[in-house]
């Protein structure tokens, strides 16, 4: 095993996130109650996804500058782990929302339709679908160099599409999702100081776990393709 300090840090931070995340006091809010602790898990998924997509973008640009296939492999696996984390963020958000947004006294919230019409959900689904298309594109081109070049360009487009679909449009439309007027969980006025104590380590811990998974996938891929890469 490649011993690295950041792998140990990752484990320590995740254990801390779980223990402190469930035990430390949190603000008592009427609607969220204890579910506010989901911030340490649900929001961290999206942060880690965004960071991995950014790393993937950097590798795609590096590929286009150098035409080194290793960079393409790195871009691919960063994006795939990012999609995994995005799906987990989406699933956890679905569970969370179904217990906090559905207000029995408001008939509009009770229906499935109002949740489906959430701009944040549509935007996140769009962003993930654009990244799914990245993998469809990759597997549809058989020529290795052409595949790498086309998908690197597409990856830059996909990253650019993240901004309107998950950052801009959901803010312009009315939504039940918190953080409408700024960056959810980053705004110093709406996150409690006690929660930041767990939230920031949580973001780092979950991101490092994503990076760890990604490095394992990259190393395996580089190993299987070594005949190509060293030729």
């Amino acid at each position: 095993m490649n011993k690295s300090w950041w792998k140990i840090l990752c484990v320590v931070l995740l254990v801390y996130t779980v223990v402190a995340g469930l035990l430390l006091p949190v603000p008592a809010l009427r609607q969220l109650q204890e579910t506010i602790r989901n911030l340490y898990f649900h929001v961290c998924m999206w942060f880690a996804m965004m960071i991995l997509f950014t790393v993937s973008l950097v590798h795609s640009i590096k590929y286009l500058r150098s035409l080194d296939l290793r960079q393409d492999i790195k871009a691919q696996h960063n994006a795939s782990t990012g999609v995994l984390l995005g799906l987990l963020g989406y699933a956890t958000g679905a569970i969370w929302a179904s217990y906090t947004w559905a207000d029995p006294n408001n008939p509009a919230y009770a229906s499935f339709g109002s949740i489906v019409r959430e701009p944040k959900l549509i935007g996140a689904a769009m962003a993930l679908l654009i990244y799914f298309a990245y993998f469809v594109l990759r597997s549809s081109i058989t020529d290795i160099d052409k595949k790498a070049r086309v998908s690197a360009v597409y990856n830059i487009f996909a990253y650019a599409m993240l901004f309107p679909s998950i950052w801009i449009i959901p803010r312009l439309l009315p939504s039940l999702h918190p953080g409408q007027e700024g960056n959810p969980a980053l705004n110093f006025n709406d996150i409690d100081a006690r929660m930041r104590l767990v939230f920031y380590p949580g973001v780092i811990g979950w991101t490092l776990l994503g990076v760890w998974i990604t490095t394992i996938k990259i190393r395996l891929h580089l190993h299987t393709e070594k005949k190509w890469l060293n030729a």
Partner: protein, 74 residues
Amino acid sequence: MRNTSSFLLFLFFLVMVAIPGFSQSSEPAEMADTMRSNGKIYVVIAVILTILGGLILYLVRLDKKISRLEKSDR
């Protein structure tokens, strides 16, 4: 050899977590231990930590396997 020892360590952790459960019948109810306090939230923590531990153990073993593969390359 090292895999076996890490597995034993993990088993030991599981047993440590389970021990408070056995002590229930012999002790009066007021002596309830940590695992039964605070609405049994510690049980939830134990469950999540077990899952996290299992996942990380899995990752560590994958990592080791790939390192072995990489070593055989050179």
